[in-house]
């Protein structure tokens, strides 16, 4: 499922990795989640954020990406060469101390205020689908300076209101986070298989900021379960550069995470 665009072939997962990587600023402390974020951290380090530091909730901190593909964050190549191998609570403590500028999480369902469900689809008592749960995602969403949501874009996943808030976005919008007492800044973007959504600074509604190459704004709206606002500045997502792709494929040569 590769898309042709300009001269380069790439997958939507590769677009997502590149977009996520560009959100990492140099020198930032980044709480790196599973799967695509593992690659986004590596791309950012090699491209524009050489001084970024990655925190892995299993108890690791790295200032260099692991030299090979990680299937999980506790894989041996992630431990060897870490700058700190420690207890989970130390990293979570840094998150609550507001020392972590950026976190990345996945999700099964998201709504128009960036609230994420990874727990129960349907009722809690008798769910239609029992999802794995929070892991560290709810902590990242609660406490990180800002966070990215990285998801498959499908209408059934992009719901007006999620069945269950696992990882808090902007709740009911406006100043909800402040009212409930959440210290973190909330979601900065939803990076999907179709485009990138950002948030209205006032109302905290999700807004279509860019659509990926080969995808129209209309298609994005059709795959979204609420009337999605489109930014006046909406544009096509800058596709991954050759350099970005080279890094992604260096780390994931067989496309375990990027060629689903």
């Amino acid at each position: 499922m590769r898309t042709e665009s300009s001269n380069t072939q790439y997958t939507m997962q590769e677009v997502m990795v590149a977009v996520a990587a560009r959100q990492i600023r140099d020198g930032e402390m980044v709480f790196v989640g599973m799967r695509l974020p593992l690659l986004a951290f590596a791309v950012a380090k090699r491209m524009h954020a050489p001084r970024a530091v990655g925190l892995f909730e299993c108890g690791l901190m790295r200032d260099e990406p692991a030299p090979e593909l990680l299937y999980t964050m506790s894989d041996p190549p992630n431990i060897a060469g870490a700058i700190w191998s420690t207890r989970m609570i130390n990293l979570m403590g840094m998150l609550q101390q507001r020392a972590v500028q950026l976190g990345m999480i996945g999700g099964a369902e998201v709504d128009g205020f960036g609230n994420v469900n990874t727990s129960y689809i349907g009722s809690r008592q008798r769910p239609t689908v029992k999802l794995p749960g929070s892991g560290g995602a709810a902590d990242i969403a609660s406490l990180a300076g800002r966070f990215l949501i990285i998801m498959q874009h499908e209408r059934r996943r992009f719901k007006e209101r999620v069945d269950y808030i696992t990882s808090p976005g902007f709740g009911e919008g406006g100043d909800w986070r402040r009212r409930v007492g959440l210290p973190g800044g909330g979601p900065a973007a939803i990076i999907t298989t179709l485009g990138t959504l950002s948030f209205d600074p006032e109302t905290k509604e999700a807004i279509l900021a860019s659509h990926h190459p080969g995808v129209t704004p209309d298609e994005v709206c059709r795959q979204t379960g609420w009337p999605l606002r489109i930014s006046p500045a909406v544009h096509e997502t800058t596709p991954p550069t050759e350099e970005e792709l080279a890094i992604i494929r260096h780390y994931d040569p067989k496309g375990f995470w990027t060629r689903p």
């Binding site: 909730e57 506790s74 560290g136 808030i165």
Partner: protein, 305 residues
């Protein structure tokens, strides 16, 4: 006096009774005590409360085998392959039976165990405010900062009956060295009433005491030491073996249906006597492939005076 060194069957038989609460998978995706979990299944334990941050298919196996009536966890699934099918069937359809789920996040579970080990009733935090994990949960109490009135979540202490911790090496008393990401291994062990140490190697007291900063927890907590090489397979043990990714994938496929899981269970656990049998069932050369291709020795440290 019987010492602490015993077989896995003895350790599980004596220290993991029906109805107890047991902490496993404290180091997240590494050092998962699969051999211990499989022995729990073989001994047909019932009504266990499983406690752990994430479990990467071990809890799924215990749930599918009918050992658990309650799970206190932040995440139950298959990290590299997807959802946990038995967990789903239990939560969605009470198959094989009803399962109570006490939802945590990784932070709140580690705070709960930290509180347990400190003997504190709770630790306050700001994580999870506004989420659906809070309402109706026994794990959390909404509170507020005395000075500012700002909302707080008081995470209640957890004190498991027993923690099963996989380590690289231990002496016969349970003085153990463990390295790599620690997750909640230390907090969990200290919070638990007893600890079963599962060790890749049983070594001399002198070796362990040569590096007391590497010791995981006080051996006074340790009730059993089980020497079980490859006891964490398919999860990795730094310096001993890597992660068997394919095994997780195969389990994921096999456990899609109850029937498929039953067959997997029979082949990999029930029809097998112990860990030796399990290892023998792995494809030839699998273990060799997982062994380290390179040594990476820690720089020397001198405790001399």
């Amino acid at each position: 006096m019987m010492g602490k060194v015993m077989t896995m069957a003895q350790a599980i038989g004596r220290f993991v009774p029906d109805g107890c609460s047991v902490l496993m998978g404290a180091a997240l995706e590494s050092l998962i005590p699969f051999a211990a979990g499989h022995e729990i299944i073989r001994q047909r334990r019932r009504n266990l409360t499983l406690i752990g941050p994430i479990s990467d298919i071990l809890f799924d196996q215990l749930i599918g085998a009918g050992c658990a009536s309650r799970v206190t966890a932040a995440w139950v699934g298959n990290v590299s392959a997807g959802l946990a099918h038995n967990y789903r069937r239990a939560a969605e359809a009470n198959t094989p039976h009803r399962l109570d789920i006490e939802d945590h996040s990784n932070f709140t579970l580690s705070l709960a165990l930290l509180a347990g080990g400190l003997g504190a009733p709770f630790i306050p935090t700001k994580t999870l405010l506004g989420t659906d994990l809070l309402p109706g949960s026994q794990s959390f109490q909404l509170s507020s900062e005395p000075d500012t009135g700002a909302p707080l979540v008081n995470v209640q202490a957890i004190t498991p009956d027993v923690a099963i911790l996989q380590v690289q090496r231990s002496d016969r008393e349970g003085n153990a060295h463990c390295w790599g990401n620690l997750g909640v291994s230390e907090e969990g062990g200290l919070a638990s009433r007893g600890v079963i140490i599962v060790a890749e190697e049983v070594v001399s007291r002198e070796m362990i005491l040569s590096d007391p900063n590497r010791v995981l927890l006080p051996s006074a907590k340790v009730v059993a030491v089980v020497h079980e090489p490859w006891g964490a397979h398919p999860s990795p043990v730094q310096g001993f073996y890597g992660r068997d990714h394919g095994f997780y994938e195969q389990y994921h496929l096999a456990s899609r249906t109850s029937e498929g899981f039953e067959q997997w269970l029979k082949g990999w656990i029930l029809d097998i006597e112990d860990r030796t049998g399990y290892l023998a069932r792995l494809p030839k050369d699998r273990l060799n492939q997982l062994k380290p291709s390179q040594r990476r020795l820690a720089a020397p440290v001198d405790y001399g005076y």
